[in-house]
């Protein structure tokens, strides 16, 4: 599964689409950024409601490729800018973390 599949396969709304379409090998669901730092794997999609710039910093440090914002949370401009310059995708969906996790789980591990 690639970053672009988040939009084409799952129908998430694309807010930031990096020029390189990296593969996604895992996912991690958490709203605690310290927890994300400690446990999210390289090449992951991060499923969260934390829609701010620091989420991008954390995603970048752990090597996550995409941030999926749940419950339709709006992404502030500085978050979009940071993600664009870091080459990290941001997608948004009205679904909650449980539902998104289920979808990705089936695709990545099912």
């Amino acid at each position: 599964m690639n970053v672009s599949d988040l939009v084409s396969q799952f129908g998430f709304e694309s807010l930031v689409r990096p020029s390189v379409d990296h593969p996604i090998v895992d996912a991690y669901t958490s709203d605690l950024l310290s927890d994300v730092m400690a446990r999210a794997g390289e090449g992951s999609a991060l499923i969260t409601i934390q829609a701010h710039k620091n989420t991008v910093a954390v995603a970048s440090l752990v090597g996550a490729r995409a941030i999926i914002l749940c419950n339709g949370r709006p992404a502030p401009d500085d978050m979009v800018e940071a993600a664009t310059s870091e080459g990290i995708a941001i997608c948004r969906t009205p679904m909650n973390q449980f539902e998104v996790s289920g979808m990705l789980y089936r695709s990545l591990r099912g």
């Binding site: 310290s34 730092m37 400690a38 390289e42 910093a57 440090l61």
Partner: protein
């Protein structure tokens, strides 16, 4: 200008990174003045005059079919062909760039082909923009300014030691509640370790330690300094703040203990995981704190160098 004095292979690393990170689409002009194949050379000449440009791409339903340059125009005037359609006088064999190419390609093309502009195509082959030497220079200068600011902020010192193993020293100030810049120091640490060829696991661990300590300074202290030194396969992270100090270190190191307020918690921090996380990711971890004075954390992480 004959060529860009930029070495796309062996120049300074900052510049190399820059010209590979920037894409042609980041520097190109997207509002391009074009003409149809059946436009007369006279009409194209008007376009050049009205817009102050020296080249007009000829486009047939979105596809680039040629370009009329000043040279083509002079020849048309010379030979009395000014009323002929552009498609009969335009240059057809074109060198084009693609919008996803790194800027290094544009620099190489300008140096190699001697043209003053290159049309840019998108992935579907449609004309997406045009790049002039001035576009490239402007973007490069802006980005170089950013990079110099970044380097100055980091007070970078790279010194080759006597043993020949390189060492890097970086230091960054942090400020209370400055979430805007939080994470910058850690991002720079990550870059520096990468440049030393450190292994990916060590880079990740060091970044975690650094980011947690950096966030602690931003959230809890009045401000401080993040100091990194890398030498002989060890990165030493010193996070030193100016207070207020920690009352009970044992509590502070207990997972789940936190003094953060609701606002900090709503951002996804302050869950009492920071210091335990940092400690767990370090090979050596030492914390000293005095209420009313400040806190200094020293952490060391070993890394393997793959030069």
């Amino acid at each position: 200008m004959d060529s860009f004095p930029i070495d796309t292979d062996g120049g300074p690393q900052v510049i190399i990174e820059l010209i590979y990170r920037l894409k042609v689409k980041d520097v190109m002009t997207t509002s391009v003045v074009t003409a149809a194949p059946d436009a007369t050379m006279r009409a194209v000449q008007m376009l050049m005059r009205d817009h102050g440009i020296t080249g007009v791409p000829i486009v047939d339903s979105g596809r680039l079919v040629g370009i009329v340059s000043i040279g083509d125009m002079i020849q048309a005037l010379d030979t009395g062909a000014i009323s002929e359609p552009a498609e009969s006088r335009m240059t057809r064999s074109l060198i084009v760039l693609e919008d996803d190419m790194p800027l290094s390609f544009a620099v190489t093309y300008f140096n190699r082909y001697g043209y003053r502009r290159f049309p840019v195509l998108d992935r579907h082959g449609s004309l997406a923009g045009i790049v002039t030497a001035a576009d490239v220079l402007r973007s490069l200068l802006i980005e170089m300014n950013h990079e110099v600011e970044r380097l100055e902020a980091g007070i970078v010192r790279t010194e080759g030691s006597k043993t020949g193993s390189p060492s890097i020293h970086l230091s960054f100030p942090s400020h209370r509640f400055d979430f805007e810049n939080a994470g910058k120091a850690s991002a720079e640490l990550k870059k520096a370790l990468k440049s030393l060829g450190a292994d990916a696991t060590a880079i990740r661990r060091a970044a975690i330690v650094s980011y947690e300590l950096e966030m602690n300074q931003v959230i809890h202290s009045v401000g401080g300094i993040m100091d990194f030194s890398m030498r002989d396969g060890i990165v030493t992270i010193v996070a030193k703040d100016e207070g207020p100090g920690i009352e009970n270190l044992e509590e502070a190191l207990t997972e789940g203990f936190s003094t953060a307020n609701a606002w900090i918690r709503s951002l996804g921090f302050g869950a009492g995981l920071g210091l335990p996380n940092a400690k767990r990711s370090s090979d050596e971890f030492d914390i000293a704190s005095k209420p009313g004075v400040g806190t200094t954390v020293t952490a060391r992480i070993r890394f393997e160098e793959h030069a």
